[in-house]
């Protein structure tokens, strides 16, 4: 297979470009989008590459159409993606819920920018954290990944596809304008060295009769894609194991929603990843994710130099959320700081996890500039 970009070596590219390349290496062959700053470069790269790798790139009339189209493509068997930013992400919420309900593997990239509303289109932010988790209506669960570097944007895009396919769920790659437009060294492995996961397909017609049934006992039904003669029926209404609408049956609803949530909750160990930095003996923990985590690492380094025992937990997955792990850290440290490019979002989850065992303090910043290490250090020193 020939690729329209260099593989097996390093390149110096923007976050948006890295996401597009990784998607293609992960097997994505369908992209539908709508232009929006600062995610447009993903689309432009996809438009350039997709026809060359026999994939589809199409511009829809709006973001609602874009997500609808990739869900359709996914049911036709393609690995599919769209990318957007705040306003477009808000428009996609209804169909993001549809993807949760119909267990459709898709990847949605949200390149966060200053909000609410149109806000600051070109500047980075972390204002959509809670929206990515709670933006669609009704009880639901999905996976949210947060890269901090361009290399991570690349790696996590592949991971996003793998998780989407493995768990038959939408995955949100939550990045921001800063990473999207930043250029960094990115190592692109040889395609044969990349682990690629494909959705489980039904082994036979019998399995295909239960597109929403837990027939393998792992809570993930095989996906009978269209055109194979399975005659699958897919609906966003509450449905039973066979896919038949059951809109007034409380038990069916409970069984379905619990399984959709549990298939992620009970596989947290596989899904949730994080990195720690000097956390073993830390008295002060910083919990961070995305671009701000990089400032936090520097802050930890500088604080350690001054003899302050700081450590960092950098979250790569922010949903499902490992409340217990936060609880364990809270037991160990005196205080937890949460620097975020918003007025407090993940902070709430950390507080829930800390459960009063350690004080949790928010270090907010909005306006489009990332925290400098000093922003974090000063705040921590004030508390020491």
């Amino acid at each position: 297979m020939k690729y329209p970009f260099p593989v097996g070596r390093s390149d110096f590219i923007q976050g948006d470009e890295a996401i597009a390349r990784a998607a293609i290496l992960a097997g994505c062959r369908f992209y539908a989008g709508y232009p929006i700053t600062p995610a447009s470069e993903i689309f432009e790269a996809m438009a350039l590459y997709m026809p060359l790798v026999d994939g589809v790139s199409i511009q829809m009339e709006d973001e609602i159409g874009s997500i609808a189209t990739i869900i359709g493509a996914s049911w036709a068997g393609a690995k599919a993606m769209t990318a957007t930013s705040g306003p477009g992400f808000s428009l996609m919420q209804e169909n993001l819920g549809y993807a949760v309900m119909t267990e459709t593997p898709i990847v949605v990239v949200d390149v966060q920018r200053g909000g609410p509303s149109t806000g600051q289109p070109t500047l980075g932010a972390q204002g959509d954290v809670m929206q990515s988790i709670w933006g669609t209506h009704g009880d639901h669960s999905l996976i949210v990944l947060t890269p901090a570097t361009v290399q991570e944007a690349f790696d996590m895009t592949i991971k996003a596809f793998n998780l989407a396919e493995k768990y038959r769920t939408p995955v949100v790659l939550l990045t921001d304008a800063e990473i999207a437009h930043m250029r960094e060294r990115v190592y692109t492995p040889n395609p044969e060295d990349i682990e690629i996961i494909y959705r489980k397909l039904p082994a036979n017609k019998e399995e295909a009769r239960y597109p929403f049934g837990d027939i393998h006992g792992d809570m993930i039904p095989p996906m009978p894609v269209f055109g194979k003669g399975y005659r699958t029926y897919v609906t966003g209404l509450t449905h039973d194991e066979k896919g038949r609408p059951k809109t007034v049956d409380a038990e069916v609803h409970e069984r379905l929603i619990r399984r959709i949530i549990d298939k992620l909750e009970k596989n947290k160990e596989d899904i949730v990843t994080y990195e720690t930095f000097d956390l073993e003996d830390a008295e002060i923990a910083i919990i961070s994710y995305g671009i701000v985590a990089r400032s936090a690492i520097r802050a930890v380094r500088l604080l350690r130099r001054e003899g302050i025992k700081a450590g960092l937990l950098k979250l790569n997955t922010i949903w499902p959320f490992d409340f217990d792990m936060i609880g364990n850290i809270a037991e160990q440290v005196r205080k937890i700081y949460v620097p975020e490019m918003n007025l407090g979002q993940l902070y709430h989850l950390v507080r829930e996890g800390a459960d009063g065992k350690a004080e949790v303090e928010l270090i907010p910043k909005i306006g489009g500039e990332i925290h400098t290490p000093m922003d974090i250090i000063e705040r921590i020193k004030r508390g020491v």
Partner: protein, 287 residues
């Protein structure tokens, strides 16, 4: 009456000085549209206090927002006409004008455009069609000519452009006209008509974006684009006699419809009067 074009300096009284200069690129057709709009108002003697301008997102949404000195509502992408619908119902005596681009009004906002035309609500829409998403860097639009190169159709556009004026005429608008920025006099006269029509009016202006569209399609200079417009413009009367294959790639210009149809705010207020009468709510004496 002799047609007189004022210099733009003369019309600066219609602009918000503190918001200038505009963010439009050199050579953008948006300036021509703004100037034409100001001229039309001036000739009609409309007080800017009697106007509310609504726009969406994109370069063309910036033509009047925030530069035009009136009440101006700069909204979300594609929704300007829906916002304007609320404004018009609230202020039926004011002129509500939407100035925005082709991507904004006809792609993401296509449905609101259709339905406003169907309702025939008294809003004037100046739709600046530059075939491209200029602000986000030159992506393909639903108006992009077949075969044109854009950043998201790098190998040529395979979709056919939406014929906005024709579609909106079919949807029920009272007045629809299409001109290009090379037809300034006609444009001013159409905007004047549109402002005076009771009902939904659409003036589609084909406009040059040398930076995002022209550059990728061998027309780097605004003048080249204007020449392209002039060369390919076909008056409506002539177009009617031409077979469809000859019309491929042409811009049909002229007035598509001028008609009287029941207008939305009048109809809704009529209904309210009827209901008041039916329930005897008219005035205190009726008690």
């Amino acid at each position: 009456m002799a047609i007189k074009i004022y210099s733009k300096y003369d019309k600066v009284k219609y602009l918000r000085k503190e918001a200038l200069p505009t963010a439009l690129c050199p050579g953008c057709g948006g300036g021509t549209v703004l100037n034409a709009f100001a001229n039309a108002l001036d000739e009609l003697g409309i007080d800017p206090r009697d106007i509310v301008v609504v726009s969406g997102i994109g370069c063309s949404a910036w033509i009047a927002s925030p530069y035009f000195l009136a009440d101006t509502l700069h909204t979300t992408h594609g929704r300007a006409i829906a916002f304007a619908t609320g404004v018009k119902v609230g202020l039926p005596d004011k002129k509500v004008v939407v100035i925005s681009g082709d991507g904004d009004l006809a792609s993401i906002g296509g449905n609101h455009l259709l339905h406003a035309a169907r309702r025939n609500i008294d809003i004037t829409v100046i739709l600046v069609n530059n075939f491209i998403y200029g602000m986000t860097g030159g992506q393909v639009a639903p108006t992009t000519p077949f075969g044109a190169i854009t950043t998201t159709s790098p190998y040529r556009n395979i979709e056919h452009p939406l014929q906005i004026s024709e579609t909106i005429a079919a949807a029920g608008a009272s007045y629809v006209a299409r001109w290009t920025t090379a037809h300034v006099y006609q444009l001013i006269s159409s905007i004047k008509k549109a402002l005076n029509v009771k009902g939904f009016s659409l003036v589609e202006v084909i406009s040059q974006c040398p930076v995002q569209f022209g550059r990728r399609n061998k027309m780097k200079e605004p003048a080249e684009m204007l020449r392209w417009f002039l060369k390919n413009s076909v008056p409506l009367a002539k177009a009617k006699k031409m077979p469809p294959e000859e019309l491929e790639g042409k811009f049909v210009i002229g007035e598509f419809v001028t008609r009287e149809r029941p207008e939305f705010t009048e109809e809704i207020n009529k209904l309210i009067e009827e209901v008041a009468e039916r329930y005897g709510l008219g005035d205190e004496d009726a008690d």
